[in-house]
Symmetry: C2
Subunit: 289 residues, 2 copies
């Protein structure tokens, strides 16, 4: 396992491996690796011949009041976790100026955007967030030249936007989603869980409970979006420290809110909740019976 | 020389050539090839081992009132021109749905934009034009995977925006500019010259004359942008059929208007002129003495 810091080295290595006929996987992460990330890398091991895990805390996907500064940076333990299980051939951990090469001129000028899919859910509350994500992922694709890229379905909206971007941009890169990994009580694994106090941590399970309740309702035949949202709101309301940002039912293709579910339609039920300044999300894809 | 129509075939071929250690050049064109395009392909032959010429009339870079529909499409003679001189190994001529694969869903959602550099000159008069250019060029880069891409300096603003985009996006692709090719009287070669009536064609030389006059003025020590612009305006005014859109002096890095030139500064002097509904441009980079 080697650690690369520059785009040039990364491109040269990818080119050499491709020339050997190897199938290359990329697992983009912001580090602070947990079991969720390791599940992505294990998927990479299974479906490709060569796995690159990128570790880069991307400044352009954080809003002004968000946690860019305090986002956990734990490269040493990240490297150890990947090495212990032999999960990566390459760790690509570039400094900011490698992926934003002209930022010395001032602000970043070049952006990759996906219209409309980023307008709802998290996108409505984090303006510019998905633009930052698609921009950095495009650059990681250019730097790492994978055949397949692997993302967690916990960030469902991000997954759908990136898949659309990869298709639209003719990257030829297959986008694979991996099921959300969960703590024993059901809390979705997230690097931001580390911010939670013990009390907050205990109550954070309501996100999973809300999503699960919504899923059961739909599977039991409920088609009124309002009733499903009401159930999620009530479940989140059961946690005194939780402050709901949104609870929504959207179409999995357009990500636009659905009023009445149609038989056979796949929807995404999704919640975002603050505990103090820590923002957590959870969601599930559900097929309407 | 082979003609490819799909992104998948193009990527497979590029991958095979790269694996052989070949240096790949891409010459993106909209077809209707003239000597200017052939000069780009000849440059490709000189600096690379393998030349792909793409021919694609890109819908997203044309505005609503512009000439997308009537833009000349002459694939057969284009192919012959390239074949006659052995200038291309591959002609990549995809249908629209290959580069806009989800347009069946409605409009295109995914865009590559370069802020600020597209706000002046042509960008000010053709909203969305450069967004269309950077979007399609990114897709052509992903489809053709070149080491070097070659563009005409006649479209100077386009060249500077694409170079910035290629750098910012970590493409690793070298962007090469080739001097404007001209008719014997100085008119810059352009596929749109074919739209001109004989009278318009005779008068169209004023663009070159205006740019040349501006260049001489600067080289003679003129530093007041207003005086330089005035000279260009007057020269264009000498052609009764010409309608000036803009005459400007901008900094070559920021593309922002310059009021007073500074010794050593490189500026771009640029004009856009209508003859009837035909829009022509010309320009020159000039170093202030």
């Amino acid at each position: 396992m080697i650690i690369l810091r520059t785009v040039r080295e990364m491109q040269a290595l990818a080119q050499a491996r491709r020339a050997e006929g190897k199938r290359l996987a990329l697992v983009p992460t912001m580090g602070a690796l947990h079991e969720g990330h390791l599940a992505l890398a294990r998927t990479g091991r299974r479906i490709a011949d060569h796995v690159t895990v990128s570790i880069f805390v991307n400044p352009t996907q954080f809003g002004p009041g968000e946690d860019y500064g305090r986002y956990p940076r734990t490269l040493k333990t990240d490297v150890e976790a990947l090495r212990a299980e032999g999960l990566a051939d390459v760790i690509f951990a570039p400094p900011v100026e490698e992926l934003y090469p002209n930022s010395g001129d001032g602000e970043n000028l070049t952006w990759v955007t996906v219209d409309s899919l980023g307008d709802t859910l998290c996108g409505a509350y984090r303006p510019g967030h998905f633009r930052g994500v698609t921009t950095v992922v495009s650059r990681l694709f250019n730097a790492c030249r994978p055949d397949v890229a692997i993302f967690g379905l916990k960030d469902a909206q991000q997954f759908l936007i990136i898949r659309r971007m990869a298709e639209d941009m003719c990257t030829g890169i297959e986008i694979v989603g991996v099921e959300t990994q969960r703590e024993p009580d059901g809390l979705a694994m997230s690097s931001r869980n580390a911010y939670l106090s013990p009390e907050e941590r205990a109550q954070a399970v309501v996100l999973y409970q809300a999503v699960t309740a919504a899923k059961r309702l739909i599977e039991a035949g409920e088609q009124r979006s309002q009733a499903i949202v009401e159930t999620m709101r009530k479940t989140i309301g059961g946690a005194p420290l939780a402050r709901l940002q949104y609870a929504e039912v959207v179409d999995e293709k357009t990500l636009q809110p659905v009023e009445r579910l149609v038989s056979g339609q796949v929807v995404l039920v999704a919640v975002a909740v603050f505990f103090g300044t820590t923002r957590l999300i959870d969601n599930a894809f559900v097929r309407t019976p």
